[in-house]
Amino acid sequence: MSSAVLQNLVNQPYRHGFVTDIEADVVPKGLSEDVIQLISKKKGEPDWLLEFRLQAYRHWLTMREPTWPNVKYPKIDFQDISYYSAPKAKKKLASMDEVDPELRRTFEKLGVPLHEQKALAGVAVDVIFDSVSVTTTYKQRLAEVGIVFCSFSEAVRDHPELVRKYLGSVVPPGDNFYAALNSAVFTDGSFCYIPKGVRCPMELSTYFRINTQESGQFERTLIVAEDSSYVSYLEGCTAPKFDTNQLHAAVVELIALDNAEIKYSTVQNWYAGDEKGVGGIYNFVTKRGLCKGVNSKISWTQVETGSAITWKYPSCVLLGDNAIGEFYSVALTNHHQQADTGTKMVHIGRNTRSTILSKGISAGFSNNSYRGLVKIGAKASNARNYSQCDSMLIGDKCGANTFPYIQVNNHSARVEHEASTSKIGEDQLFYFAQRGVGAEEAVSMIINGFCRDVFTQLPMEFAVEATKLLGLKLEGSVG
């Protein structure tokens, strides 16, 4: 069975178990100031946050959808979307035996741990293996060192001063069309605060947070690392999400103060549509990190394999002197997927350094573009950038593009850009076959070799899953 069919099965919505009191939990389709006021009221938000939303909305009304990405899709009717629905209570299954066997097989192939499988498949987790107790234990550990890690709504309630100080400080509400939309209507997300001098004792993963299984359509993430702190944050999960939403417009903001370091890793495998390109998620995301303090560092690592369309550029604004920005990316597209992804490295402070390592893999009829901006400001003396963008084509119906933009306003800067394109062809696969190795394994080995430099940046368990995920996504694309 091909991966697309698996994806299909995996992404089927639950038909039962929605809360019955519909009027109370779903806002009618369409967007207006009334709708935004309703959302804010339902969430019991303070006035300043409502004002933030309304300003974003008013700005959004003046904006147009970006047309510059190298992707094609039918026009989105923004009045045909419901912008708020309370978390749906899924029907809990009694045991793993009730879970779709195809889904179980996918989990097994991916090597997802059993308790995680249960959580993802909506199985009631038993008391002994309770993820809640896992959550409690680790929350205690974090609290001992003063780390705040909670849902965005909780943060608004419990830490309004922090949220108010930093929300929109990296991605302003009017930054771009989708960021403005998100700022107006975001429903929930994650908040993380690392106090001064604290090194977070574990990798923070959204998986561990309660109530994350229903990720909102418009997520908001805010991570603040105070002076000399460190945090490694894992977003998403390699297992497919049960999301029927078409449009995802998330915003992620990272702030690193003096000597702080934030490492942000993503493995994204949202529903990509079927083999013919029907359905799938539009993943239009704004992710940006601000290296605000001296010697601060922000590192983005992403493995993008899902979504019908991906439009995201995790970026670093290197404001503090000696700040470091990094972007490591593997973007894989198959069937009719389209990806226009890359990064922006904006050098403002002196001696700032950035590294970009992008690996694009295209198979089937897909189209995969790298788009990146390296900007060296007038005061960024001795700034350094190294970029490497490699593309790999599988078959001859897919496309790969590289759009590098380089703006240098300081003559002491040094900017390097390297690019390559390679192809997995019949002759390479025949060479493997002649040594006894089948096509699937050959492609997997070639792809893993191609992506090795990015995978080594991922936390260990993520790297293993990412490797398996790529293999699974490419199943049936060769031979």
Binding site: S422, G425, E426, D427, Q428, F430, Y431, F432, A433, Q434, R435, G436, V437, G438, E441, M445, I446, G449, F450, R452
Partner: protein
Amino acid sequence: MPRKTLLEARGLTARVAGVEILKGIDLSVLAGEVHAIMGPNGSGKSTFAKVLAGHPAYEVTGGDVLFEGNSLFDMTPEERARAGLFLGFQYPVEIPGVTNSSFLRLAYNTVQGARGKDELDPLEFDDYLQDKLKLLDIDPTFLDRSVNEGFSGGEKKRNEILQMAILEPTLAILDETDSGLDIDALRIVANGVSRLRSPDNALILITHYQRLLNYITPEFVHVMDQGRIIKTGSRDLALELESRGYDWVTAEYRALRAA
């Protein structure tokens, strides 16, 4: 006890891109034998090798080939390799990003697994490799490089023979392994191949030059032309071809056919 027949080709015809290249090949190879196939450019020698190995661009249009009694054409290319058929490529492809050592180990373990033998972990495999490297006078740093990437012509050919040494095939077909080698490299490669010979395996050498045959003495020398084997002789035929060229063989064949 009669020696085992490893390969039996009967009336093999094949085409590529709609053009018939092989027009009826008959060939028997027994265990312990070395066969040399010579002939002018474009006579179908490399096509014959690729058809035996199962290259997808070549279409078999008639005849059959048995490998140890089983029809090759019922087997996928990887099944043929696992059954012990090896092709040393004339132009080995480059595989960027995949190290030679991991490629060799994957190939070895796959073939071992198919033979019901134990796979080796990286450390054990490294020990196993060391002897083979010495056999072919290969620098160990070679293993950390990507497969064939940036290799010189001679290094690529040596890598092919290294793979042969590791996989220990029953039948190895070496397609112009000697071309592009200088005298020293030729000696090393040819001696390496000679040491891999045994009464249980066989070799088919495709070559333009008889100098390789100074190191590996064939039982049979075949001349191929226009998709057919038009003459078969002994070791001496190769020497005669070198001094006289191919035209006389072609003329002789035409005369024979006309008669």
